[in-house]
Symmetry: C2
Subunit: 232 residues, 2 copies
Amino acid sequence: MSSLTRKERERQQREALFLDIAYDILRNEGIKALTMEKVAQVGEYSKGTVYGHFSCKEDIISALSIRTLMLQKAMMQNVLEGQWSSRERILGCALVYVLIQVKYPRLHYCVLSLNDPQISTKLSFAMQELYAESEEQVNSLLVDTISEAQLVGDLPNDTAPEEIAYAIRAMVFGMSLIGHPSLETATRSHLNTLLDGFGWQPLTRDADYHHFWQQTREELLAVSIPEIHSAY
Amino acid sequence: MSSLTRKERERQQREALFLDIAYDILRNEGIKALTMEKVAQVGEYSKGTVYGHFSCKEDIISALSIRTLMLQKAMMQNVLEGQWSSRERILGCALVYVLIQVKYPRLHYCVLSLNDPQISTKLSFAMQELYAESEEQVNSLLVDTISEAQLVGDLPNDTAPEEIAYAIRAMVFGMSLIGHPSLETATRSHLNTLLDGFGWQPLTRDADYHHFWQQTREELLAVSIPEIHSAY
DNA sequence: ACCTGAACACCGTTCAAGT
DNA sequence: ACCTGAACACCGTTCAAGT
């Protein structure tokens, strides 16, 4: 291995270290406590070095969000591997959304700030690209699942898959942002209502989605939600 | 009138001035540009005077949000005065949500920050109370409309009105936060799907909600959305 | 070539001093 | 009693100097 490769490896390790630190601060002390200075201090590097990795504070949040989106994608793929009906598959994807948002609540809120043009323009170009791609990948899993449901006739095809995916994301997203004392139950229940509205077979009255939901929930929690960061 | 009353009046006028200024900055330059210093400067007062009205920066955002909630409430009451079916009434309320969120996009995003405990604890107690009450008032309009629909038999009563209101808010809220090239149309369409799922009569296939939506939209835009602030 | 940390600008918040 | 603005702490960002 050349020297450059070792350098590159060290650089990536350091970047991961900074992200681990940033996420820990965010989780334990909130967004206001997440500062470039603190990340540098805890990591025992200078501020300049942190800026060598992230162009600004929002770049860090963006990178954290990308890591979470990748986890979300992996969890959804995990669900989609199972032998489930099309409607169970989409419910499983929604369940992943909820579990992720319950697990990383502060992060999901911070990500919204990236929509502000005044902020998103500060992101490094590479990070913007990567973020858009990650979101697209997760959304594709939804859209593909919906398309398949229409193909096999479980779901009327008078509405475009992208539109149905949008409605589902909006609903799940909105519920976790507003908050609910029993968020998972509420999500299962109200999302099923929406799917009934779309005419997605079998309708709630003809199937027991409660059981699928619980089982998938246990499996996902047991297997697929490690802490995002390694110890440092 | 006593001197105290005049003082009080002047104080309220100044508070309104600060809010007008804050909203203008937020709208034109974004949340990052909204600083206590700038509000003071533009208003030609000292920073200390601004702090005499608002305990912190978030207090201002909270106050702005309360003003918007009051406008939202007035618009919803405007819709609810009309002779509409129960389902049209709830659609009208949702339309108000969308119009408000399109009109004050940055504000609606900022309000989310108030959910962070690290931030909400900084708000003055009076402001916290007022904010909670304003939200409650708007939500009550939804809940009451839903209850009435169940009473007259337009809507099955196997789900609590509060839960249905939650689902509706989540969906509309989520859609405007995620964004959509045709937000109003998407909201009308997908919300109707959700209402169909709840079994809210008459179902989409049996009624023309498009026409109601357009008409109400025109009326609301013509009558009820003044700029929130007076010129200063 | 890479890393440092001093330096600058800016902002939130407080409070002693002035009117 | 009310208002001011200097003062302090803190943070984002840059960059000349060091290794």
